[in-house]
Symmetry: C2
Subunit: 202 residues, 2 copies
DNA sequence: CGAGCCCACTGACATTTGTCACCGCCTGGT
DNA sequence: ACCAGGCGGTGACAAATGTCAGTGGGCTCG
């Protein structure tokens, strides 16, 4: 019996996947969580064979949880299941030691089999997705540029961002200018959108 | 046997829901589509009793499809199933004659029963959600303000927007200024985010 | 130990954006 | 016939934004 931990914030999706996986004779969902912060505690308690994690979760992200799981529960395989096939996500997932990367666009029929393959030691990663990730430029942004871009995502003014990050407005403007250049954008809004699209903001 | 049409863009969600609903003795998924443009043709062909529609779909939106279904297949009940409980969405769904409005945050166990209740003639709408919708201000934006805000969502400059909408930059600035005031925002980026959050941009 | 890089910051400057007051043109309602 | 209100537009002005050049400090790597 393969023991599964399921982390997904949308209750209906989570419930539907749990029922679906439960229909398989050799699969068993031993934990369902809706927040990133619940993943590691639930895993330590239930000792699943595989953790199926969404990335964008309340609290910590699935990628962060994957890193913690790799450290604290090395026997547990990690699979990422996400809406977005962003190069940055794939890159980070693999760096975090994930054994599988699935997108929610894919057919549900393959999910159970992907889990079995991961348990056999295989790595599940769509070849086209792998190729696209390798082809895409890796994250060119510095940590500070990421901070500033992330803080500008809600449409804040430069003065607001500076206040929030304890930087001078001039400094923030400079980081944004650098980020705008690196993303090939024309203003901070475009730059933030582009960085988010590429998975460069975590 | 209740015949269901399922419209949802995420293949895995769509597949999982189809399997789940198919497990019920009295339910039958007779059509699954992933694009808004496929909804009406599929409904005309399969004559479902109820159409379960996501809102944000490729092609036309689920709300637009709901309006067309109400006109061309009046016997078919429409239920909206969406990620977002935006007041504007609820309002438009009800105006389009939808018999149910469900959010994907809700428990999957209630889905089948909600469908049965709609088929019995009931309206399925969470009371808290209805109250929140009535409490929220209705869309204060004029058609032009919506156009301009929608065009600014990708971070375009005012000059770009003016070019795309065949307006003068001054006019675009005026509409944006009005929208910024009505949304209580500080710049066009915040205004576009706020309008989108409220479901005012369709 | 220097070269090169990231970081934090400053000041100057041009451009963009947001606000305000005001114009005329239609259209729908009374 | 009149008025209100949406629409498209202009000009002027202040504020925010983006760019550039330059100053240090800390860090790593050859």
């Amino acid at each position: 019996m393969i023991r599964i931990l399921l982390a997904e914030d949308q209750a209906m999706m989570r419930g539907a996947l749990a029922v679906l996986l439960g229909l398989e004779d050799d699969l068993e969902v031993v934990a369902q969580v809706g927040a990133g912060t619940d993943i590691v505690p639930a895993a330590l308690e239930t000792h699943p064979d595989v953790a199926l994690l969404d990335i964008e979760l309340p609290g910590i992200s699935g990628l962060q949880a994957a890193r913690e799981l790799a450290e604290r529960l090395p026997g547990c395989k990690v699979m990422i299941l996400t809406t977005f096939s962003r190069p940055g996500y794939v890159r980070e997932a693999m760096a975090a030691g994930a054994a599988g990367f699935l997108v929610k666009d894919g057919p549900v029929e393959e999910l159970a089999d992907a889990i079995r393959r991961v348990l056999r030691g295989e790595t599940v990663l769509d070849p086209d997705l792998a190729a696209a990730t390798l082809r895409a430029a890796p994250n060119p942004l510095t940590a500070r540029e990421r901070d500033v871009l992330a803080a500008s995502e809600d449409g804040s003014s430069i003065a607001d961002i500076a206040g929030r990050l304890f930087l001078s407005p001039s400094t923030v403007r400079n980081y944004l200018s650098a980020a705008i250049g690196k993303t090939g954008s024309r203003n901070k809004t475009e730059a933030a959108l582009a960085a988010r699209r590429n998975g460069w903001l975590g």
